[in-house]
């Protein structure tokens, strides 16, 4: 079977028509993982044994005619989403041997569907980074150029889907961690509205920004995945009590008259010309389909990076305090509690994680709180206000997903501030709790994918998926040769 960028809905047909069995299908993926992943390093853990059990269970459902959208579909899950009995490392030495005794809510939902777990995909340690190079276990490479980064923090999920080592995957997005690697790896990924998908069981990075979402071959598959994982959850007080529509419903509907805003600050200095050109070409393609392009401005964008990093790091500093070596995870040495915890955290966490914990604790310290954290919260309100203003005149917003295509491994290692700046196009979406989908809109001369992001109103994933799908219908993606 040719697995290259095969769609979930194609696999559904093959499984339901018994063209292929669930066990055979995941077996095909394992073969490909064994062949490709030693070099690509997209997985931290491959769960072959569990997959066979999952497949057996799925096959039963299929045979009984009880299959639903994801029954028997093999999926890769980012290594920060807890799965009962399956090692969940967050790509950190701190959780190298952590096996959760519970499922994340999204996993419970996938279990109901009868999905098949292929394995746990690599990521930046605790989802902190945009390159997958802070992973303690698998520094994933870009499938289009093994010398380049896959993006991050869901770089393993994006690379696996890109290289057809999984038809779809779950990632998480705190400041662009689904969209940016989707862009770098030439696939489609959606960060749902904050509250759309339960965070229960997602190891928290920044609780007010984190959101789980799918990474797939296209927008249609993203809609199918989102249908399966969304919904209010009584275990997550921040999950929204809103209706859950069928996200595939608007796919294929013409985008005639859809107003697409292009905030000029997203196309300003610092964004590669190749990226600008590709996104603008895509905008004109959408215009050809009947969309109306709207010029607009988001002056608050220049404060987005400091506001984002203050909020995210403050929450992270608190969220990651529980990793003290006492209850689970990496345990260092020490005669007293203080010594033990200092050693555990010094050796268990990587440099980037420690940098952000320090930054976050500094911002929350007495005497600095007002100057940093409180100001960041004010900026957050300002960014929300500016988005609301734009959405008074537009249905969706179109921006580049990242200022550059995938960069060379090691090229940004010594400049954290520059690395943080690269998140400029994605972080405001998390700050404003909006949904955003990234899809490939072109390739550079070197054949590297360029992604564009379509941002929607809160809980209007339907429209951004409709828009992304409309573009994809007239676009021919190029899969990497691996």
């Amino acid at each position: 079977m040719n697995l290259t960028r095969v769609k979930i809905r194609e696999l559904r047909k093959s499984l339901d028509s018994k063209e292929i069995g669930a066990a055979e299908l995941c077996g095909e993926y394992f073969k490909r993982i064994e062949a490709v992943d030693p070099e690509l390093l997209s997985y931290i853990t491959v769960t072959k044994e569990k997959a066979l059990k999952d497949a057996e269970n799925a096959q039963k459902l299929i045979d009984e005619g009880k299959s639903t959208a994801l029954t028997g579909i093999p999926l890769a899950i980012k290594d920060n989403i807890c799965i009962d009995g399956v090692r969940t490392t967050c790509a950190s030495k701190m959780l190298e041997n952590f096996v959760p005794p519970y499922n994340a809510t999204v996993i419970e939902k996938l279990n109901v569907e009868g999905y098949v777990l292929l394995g746990r995909t690599s990521m930046d340690e605790f989802a902190m980074g945009g390159s997958n190079q802070t992973s303690a276990f698998a520094k994933t490479k870009n499938p289009y150029d093994l010398g380049r980064v896959p993006g991050g923090s869901s770089g393993g999920s994006a690379a696996a889907v890109s290289a057809s080592l999984a038809p779809a995957a779950l990632g998480s997005d705190t400041g662009g961690s689904i969209r940016q690697p989707s862009s770098f790896c030439g696939v489609t990924g959606i960060k749902p509205t904050y509250g759309r998908v339960s965070r229960y069981g997602l190891v928290a990075f920044a609780s007010s920004l984190d959101q789980i979402g799918p990474i797939c071959s296209d927008a249609h598959d993203c809609a199918i995945m989102l249908n399966a994982i969304c919904g209010h959850d009584r275990h997550d007080a921040t999950s929204a009590r809103v209706d859950t529509p069928d996200f595939t419903e608007k796919l294929g509907q013409p985008i005639n008259g859809m107003k697409i805003a292009l905030p000029k600050e997203f196309y300003a200095e610092g964004v590669d010309d190749a990226v600008k050109t590709a996104v603008m070409d895509a905008a004109r393609e959408l215009e050809k389909q009947g969309a109306v392009l709207v010029d607009c401005s988001m002056p608050g964008l220049k404060y987005a990076i400091p506001a984002y990093y203050l909020i995210a790091c403050a929450e992270a500093a608190s969220n990651l305090s529980r990793f003290d070596g006492i209850k689970y995870g990496f345990r260092g040495e020490g005669r007293t509690f203080e010594e033990l915890i200092r050693d555990s955290r010094s050796r268990g966490f990587g440099e980037e994680v420690k940098r952000r914990i320090l930054l976050g604790n500094y911002a929350l310290s007495s005497g600095y709180y007002d100057a940093y954290y409180k100001k960041a919260l004010a900026l957050k309100q300002e960014i929300i206000r500016q988005y609301n203003q734009i959405f008074e005149r537009a249905d969706v917003i179109l921006t580049p997903t990242a200022p550059t295509p995938a960069y060379k491994i090691g090229s940004q290692d010594n400049d954290p501030v520059k690395m943080y700046q690269a998140d400029i196009c994605t972080v405001t979406v998390n700050i404003a709790k909006l949904p955003g989908v990234s899809t490939t809109c072109g390739y550079t001369e070197d054949g590297l994918p360029v992604g564009m992001s379509i941002i929607g109103k809160r809980f209007d994933e339907q429209t951004i998926l409709q828009c992304a799908d409309a573009f994809e219908q007239g676009f021919s993606p190029v899969a990497p040769k691996l």
Partner: protein, 477 residues
């Protein structure tokens, strides 16, 4: 006379009587096998999220109402960050700038004088676990059963100037919380705990001195004693020209002294910030009104009702209401036998006397108010003598059982045996010519002597009324 006067403020932690914990569904009950009452949420496993127990919110609002607080229409939760092995998330979910309750008042009475204590705030937070130190193997073990048990922290203004006031306040708070069904207030189990902030200043001074905070106070006795020794310590410091250092001090009950735990300089920076996992709550007037209406009768109202409706003396009503267990017992008794005065008298005069003597334990009575009421009814209706009633009560205290069964078994009923009565009284009168003489010459006091003799000899075979009538009749012959 001391040249200084003390000023104190309290921080009282009370565990709420909710069935489950404040952010998960684990049991909030006291005790249990270590780590048997915890789950991924309250033991802080990664990825888990807290979900606020609405019952706990209801309880703190009730607490606010019974202490006459303003209830915030908008309230939210914050994280208090610090590392300690009994705190698995390394932060405590608490409330900083927006507590549920603000600025209340509580009336106390100290040695006959009324006083108003101002409440600064009451907020809702989670309790931490417990560490058990194994000195033999030189290890410490963590028990997370208590992690996430809902707590309210009541912070008073510095309105106390004596240990008596502090004790009276805590006793009042205990009563209010017990009657409102918010907390069982078992100090020995730590379900209510109190820290005392204390400073002294020269008499006549407008300014407060430097304060210390006393911790580890496990009983009212310990609180009173700790305040006393801390005032002495601070006075000695000031008298010898030294300064009081702002610090937290632990009271050692055995040694009767306070020792420094940590000073202001090494105080934690808790890096409070709003907890992003718990959305703020906005209360509507309707919600608050409904909670307010659900508050049961409070001690002061209850005393007034007992006095007005039942005609019980205020002092007696105070005694009964002063202990919720006794009061519940009283209510059960009057539901069985509608004679509140007689029941109140027998509770105070007999049951509480036995309890005070250590013969009975209110927490482990083998009978209920209904059985007790039956006994009182038997006495009131001359079915059983007072002396025999005491015997029955003793049996009930020792072994339980119904008063009827006990009286049947041990033959303790009044039999109205007129023949026996006549025989016994005639004999007494015949054998005591001198008191008879005295009575006949107008000394009514000796009548009691005859009653006593007759009661003793008859052992409850006749009712007091019958005995009295017969003696009177014989003596006037």
């Amino acid at each position: 006379m001391s040249a200084y006067f003390p000023t104190m403020g309290l921080e009282i932690h009370a565990e709420l009587l909710t069935r489950s914990k404040v952010f998960c569904t684990c049991s909030a009950e006291f005790g249990g096998t270590p780590n048997s009452r915890c789950c991924p949420v309250c033991s802080g496993l990664p990825g888990t999220l807290p979900v606020l127990n609405q019952k706990a919110v209801e309880y703190i609002i009730k607490a606010g109402y019974v202490m006459n607080c303003d209830i915030s229409r908008f309230t939210k939760w914050d994280r208090k960050n610090y590392f300690y092995p009994d705190l698995p998330k390394a932060y405590q979910i608490s409330q900083m700038p927006r507590p549920v309750c603000l600025s209340g008042t509580v009336n106390i009475n100290v040695n006959g004088e009324d006083k108003v204590i101002r409440i600064n705030r009451i907020h809702l937070e989670e309790d931490a676990g417990k560490l058990v130190h194994d000195d033999v193997n030189r290890i410490s073990l963590a028990d997370y059963n208590r992690c996430g048990v809902p707590l309210i922290e009541i912070v008073t203004e510095p309105d106390f100037h004596s240990a008596d006031e502090v004790i009276a306040f805590i006793e009042k708070i205990k009563l209010l919380l017990q009657y409102a069904g918010i907390c069982d207030c078992k100090m020995e189990q730590g379900s209510i705990r109190c820290d005392v902030n204390i400073s002294i200043a020269p008499k006549g001074s407008d300014e407060l001195g430097t304060r210390t905070e006393l911790k580890n106070l496990n009983s009212l006795k310990a609180i009173a004693r700790a305040i006393e020794v801390e005032i002495e310590r601070q006075e000695e410091l000031l008298e010898s020209g030294e300064r009081v250092i702002q610090q937290t001090r632990r009271f050692n009950e055995q040694l009767g002294e306070t020792t420094a735990m940590r000073s202001k300089e090494d105080a934690h920076d808790y890096r409070y910030f709003p907890d992003p996992d718990i959305p703020p709550i906005i209360f509507t007037e309707e919600e608050l009104d409904e909670i307010k209406r659900s508050i049961p009768e409070l001690p002061e109202q209850r005393v007034a009702r007992y006095v007005d409706e039942y005609g019980i003396k205020k002092a007696d009503a105070d005694i009964i209401v002063g202990d919720k267990r006794v009061c519940d017992f009283f209510d059960a008794a009057i539901a069985q036998y509608d004679n509140p005065k007689a029941i109140a008298n027998y509770i105070i005069g007999e049951l509480m006397r036995r309890i005070n003597l250590g013969e009975a334990d209110m927490d482990a009575l083998k009978f209920g108010g209904a059985e007790f009421a039956q006994l009182v009814e038997f006495m009131q209706t001359d079915k059983i003598s007072q002396a025999n009633a005491k015997t029955v009560l003793r049996e009930m205290i020792d072994k339980g059982g119904s008063p009827k069964d006990i009286a049947d078994r041990d033959d303790l009923w009044i039999k109205e045996d007129n023949d026996l009565l006549a025989k016994v009284v005639d004999e007494i009168i015949a054998n005591n010519p001198k008191p008879v003489e005295q009575y006949k010459s107008g000394d009514q006091k000796v009548f009691g002597f005859f009653m006593g003799q007759a009661n003793k000899a008859l052992k409850g075979a006749a009712s007091p009324k019958a005995i009295q009538e017969y003696i009177r009749k014989k003596l006037s012959e």
